[in-house]
């Protein structure tokens, strides 16, 4: 269909902006594998330190890119299937809010005011700018959803007998999960952390903020994943030259995600105090439940692909796998979706390991975890996002896609890189290699007394994979930006490939009514989180003190009134004093380290280590 100019501009911005920021995100991904493999034994490189880079990598790739894409793809899906544009007020204000939030986050991260990673665990402190920015980004995405609801209600009035298209159901399920799960995150950032970071409140309950974060944090991964699932059900069979094996299976899968995505967050916290083993076990079981729709999807999509392969003359049990349109530049999106799916088989299976309650103790917070989630978020999620962004950008702007050949090989190359990358991380993780750690400073630095030679081969494998992936990303950027800065030669259109169902299915009443599912969702969340919340207040206390990443001495914020009375020059003095105190404490800590270090170390080696640290 044809679309109006402002709507087109909004969608194109929502593709272009996050992909531009992604260059920073990918750069820091590459830097991390270099640090971790012990190539660089430094705190920082090119002005940004390891943990600042890690924060940028996490926030840009996992929050900004995914949220912008979910909104842009939602706009396209809604207007393609309902043949209507959402209200202008909704889509414009949504973009402005997300833009403002992103600018605030980027400012806080690039100036070093937010270096507590994308999980922003208190009592490490980020600037309030970061907390508010993140909240604005999220609220902006809500506004887009509210617009779609209005559009859908209007459509339903005009088409009372047509059932909700599968892609629309997927989008609505996804954003319902999103709105529900972001409420605890918004509460945590706006009500608990912002006043605390601003110094108005002295204490913060750390286990409470962590519980709220993971209530959001796990549903977040489904928010990333469901746009990819929508593509698997409604687009991939068409691209493969076949038909969707069963539409009802797709509906059931989405509805199972709706009820099971939120009440599973504690499975990220099996190793933590505060929650009882009962709560942890309950969420482990629900997490197994949420694996079921993924198993179903694997079957339905494989069956659809098999149908496509057989139509092209494939024989035998597995012959269909060879008869799919790989490496075809006129159908490049197929490669992005199929490579993502292949990676997701391993991402999903390793996820079941993580979810397995006590088995999680083998892998919790080790490098295994990023090994696992890069095969989900940097597998199906990332590949479907960049592939679909390129396709839609070309169509919506009317600009032909440049360097199509490069764009075609990107997903295969990315998948190859991921094999080395994830294998290295997972193998290292099983040998205790920690995640989120600048290993190059100590553990993979042969000059350090902390050196561990077992982690050298694994981090090297990760490095090789990371380099291949970065090259793939570079090729993608060449194609995307050449397209974006190219000339318009075709009329702009908004359209999506649409797969038909293989056989007509009777509508099942329970799969067309969202209400009972929403009720079950609410009940499960209450059952899961009331005991969890109860434990938080029973077993933990709020603590004082805010910490910057570079000092073990807490910053004690002055009460607001005092700060007002202080004149500017005195204020500076106070600041200097605090700074001096902190550097003193660093020295003290140095002495402590010296005193408590393993005894058999050479003195020069030790001081080298200490110099490295500070």
């Amino acid at each position: 269909m044809n679309i109006t100019k402002p709507f087109k501009r909004v969608i194109l911005t929502e593709f272009f902006l996050p992909l531009t920021l992604l260059t920073i995100g990918i750069y820091h991904g590459l830097m991390q594998v270099i640090y971790r493999a012990g190539i660089i034994h430094q705190n920082s490189f090119a002005g940004l330190n390891y943990y600042q880079g890690l924060t940028l990598h996490g926030v840009i790739n996992a929050l900004v890119l995914t949220t912008f894409f979910a909104v842009a793809f939602g706009h396209v899906t809604i207007s393609h299937y309902l043949k209507k544009e959402p209200p202008r007020l909704a889509y414009s204000s949504s973009l402005w809010l997300m833009l403002l939030g992103t600018v605030m986050d980027a400012y806080a991260m690039l100036t070093g005011k937010a270096q507590a990673l994308y999980t922003f665990y208190a009592p490490l402190k980020d600037s309030p700018v970061f907390y508010i920015g993140t909240a604005l980004l999220i609220i902006g995405s809500w506004v887009a959803f509210f617009g779609w609801i209005k559009t859908y209600i209007k459509w339903k009035k005009e088409n009372p007998d047509t059932k909700m298209p599968l892609a629309i159901l997927g989008t609505f399920v996804n954003f319902t999960i999103w709105v529900v799960c972001t409420v605890p995150a918004a509460y945590s950032t706006l009500i608990l952390l912002t006043p605390w970071a601003a110094g108005w409140v002295e204490r913060v309950n750390v286990p409470l903020t962590r519980m709220l974060f993971w209530m959001f944090g796990h549903a977040l991964v489904y928010f990333w994943l469901l746009p990819a699932y929508i593509m698997y059900y409604t687009i991939l069979p068409k691209l493969a030259g076949g038909k969707l094996y069963s539409e009802n299976a797709g509906r059931l899968a989405f509805l199972l995600f709706l009820i099971l995505s939120v009440p599973v967050g504690v499975h990220h916290q099996f190793s933590e105090p505060v929650f009882t083993p009962g709560t942890k076990l309950f969420m482990a079981i629900l997490t197994f439940g949420v694996a079921l729709p993924s198993f179903m999807t694997a079957f339905t999509i494989a069956a659809s692909l098999e149908h496509a392969g057989r139509k092209k003359g494939a024989r035998g049990w597995l012959g269909w796998m060879l008869h799919l349109p790989y490496f075809r530049s006129d159908n490049f999106l197929f490669g992005y979706l199929i490579c993502g799916m292949i990676l997701f088989i391993f991402g999903g299976l390793s996820g079941i390991v993580n979810a397995s309650y006590s088995l999680n103790a083998m892998v919790h917070n080790t490098a295994w975890i990023p090994g696992h989630f890069h095969m989900t978020v940097a597998g199906p999620v990332f590949l479907s996002i960049i592939g679909m962004s390129l396709l839609l950008y070309g169509k919506l702007s009317g600009k032909p896609i440049q360097f199509k050949l490069l764009a075609t090989i990107v997903p295969y190359m990315w998948m190859l890189g991921m094999v080395f990358f994830s294998h290295g991380l997972m193998a290292g993780g099983l040998m205790g290699e920690p995640r989120r750690t600048n290993l190059g400073m100590t553990y993979t630095n042969p000059d350090s007394p902390l050196f561990n030679q077992h982690w050298v081969p694994t981090t090297t494998s990760t490095l090789i994979g990371g380099i291949i992936m970065s090259v793939a990303a570079l090729l993608y950027f060449i194609s995307f930006f050449a397209t974006a800065f190219g000339k318009k030669t075709q009329p702009a259109v908004l359209e999506l490939p649409e797969s038909e169902p293989l056989h007509p299915e009777k509508p099942v009443a329970i799969l067309t009514n969202l209400k009972p599912w929403l009720a079950v969702m609410g009940v499960l969340i209450l059952f899961a989180y009331i005991p969890a919340l109860n434990s938080v207040f029973k077993y933990s206390v709020p603590v004082k003190g805010q910490y910057q990443i570079d000092s073990p001495v807490p910053e004690n914020p002055k009460p607001a009134q005092k700060a007002k009375q202080t004149k500017s020059d005195q204020h500076t003095n106070a600041k200097d004093h605090a700074k001096a105190e902190r550097s003193l404490s660093r020295v003290t800590n140095l002495v402590v380290l010296r005193a408590s270090s393993p005894t058999s170390l050479d003195e020069p080696l030790l001081s080298a280590r200490l110099q490295d640290t500070f």
Binding site: P207, R210, A249, F275, A284, F295, S356, G432, D550
Partner: protein, 145 residues
């Protein structure tokens, strides 16, 4: 829903049930469980190793930026150690490499688990939660003699 779909749901469901049975069996019969809850009390934040009897110890371990106290713990082989882990400042991690002991040290809460050391050797403790610029130096040791 056709017969293949019904079969795949059944198959996936039974696979997950087998996994579930395995973890229940480990938790209840072999006592391999997740850490348990202890109500917060300031007294847990004093680092010490107490010998309860011949082979039983209580270890009060405190994590802080960027060290564990005590950071070198000596116990005889065959001993059982009740570990109470707390944090003085930010969130830290506690992973005994190759031992599947994996805990978080969260300020304002006490983590508790029981360790068994049968084989003599040096067990490294690595902090695996980001805790500031010195995170990669945060290491401890358990010497089992």
């Amino acid at each position: 829903m056709n017969k293949y779909e019904a079969r795949i749901i059944l198959l996936a469901g039974s696979t997950l049930c087998i996994f579930l049975f395995a973890l229940l069996y480990n938790a209840f019969s072999r006592k391999i469980d997740v850490p348990s809850c202890v109500p917060f009390n300031k007294s847990f934040e004093h680092p010490s190793l107490k010998q309860v009897d011949d082979k039983t110890y209580e270890l009060y371990l405190v994590a802080q930026m960027w060290s564990f106290t005590p950071d070198e713990i000596k116990v005889p082989a065959g001993s059982t150690v009740d570990l109470y882990l707390s944090s003085k400042d930010v969130v830290h991690g506690f992973n005994i490499v190759d031992k599947a002991v994996n805990l978080m040290a969260v300020p304002g809460a006490i983590n508790k688990t029981t360790l068994h050391f049968d084989k003599p050797g040096v067990y490294r403790i690595v902090c695996h939660e980001y805790c500031g610029v010195g995170h990669q130096n945060m290491l401890g040791k358990i010497l089992v003699q």
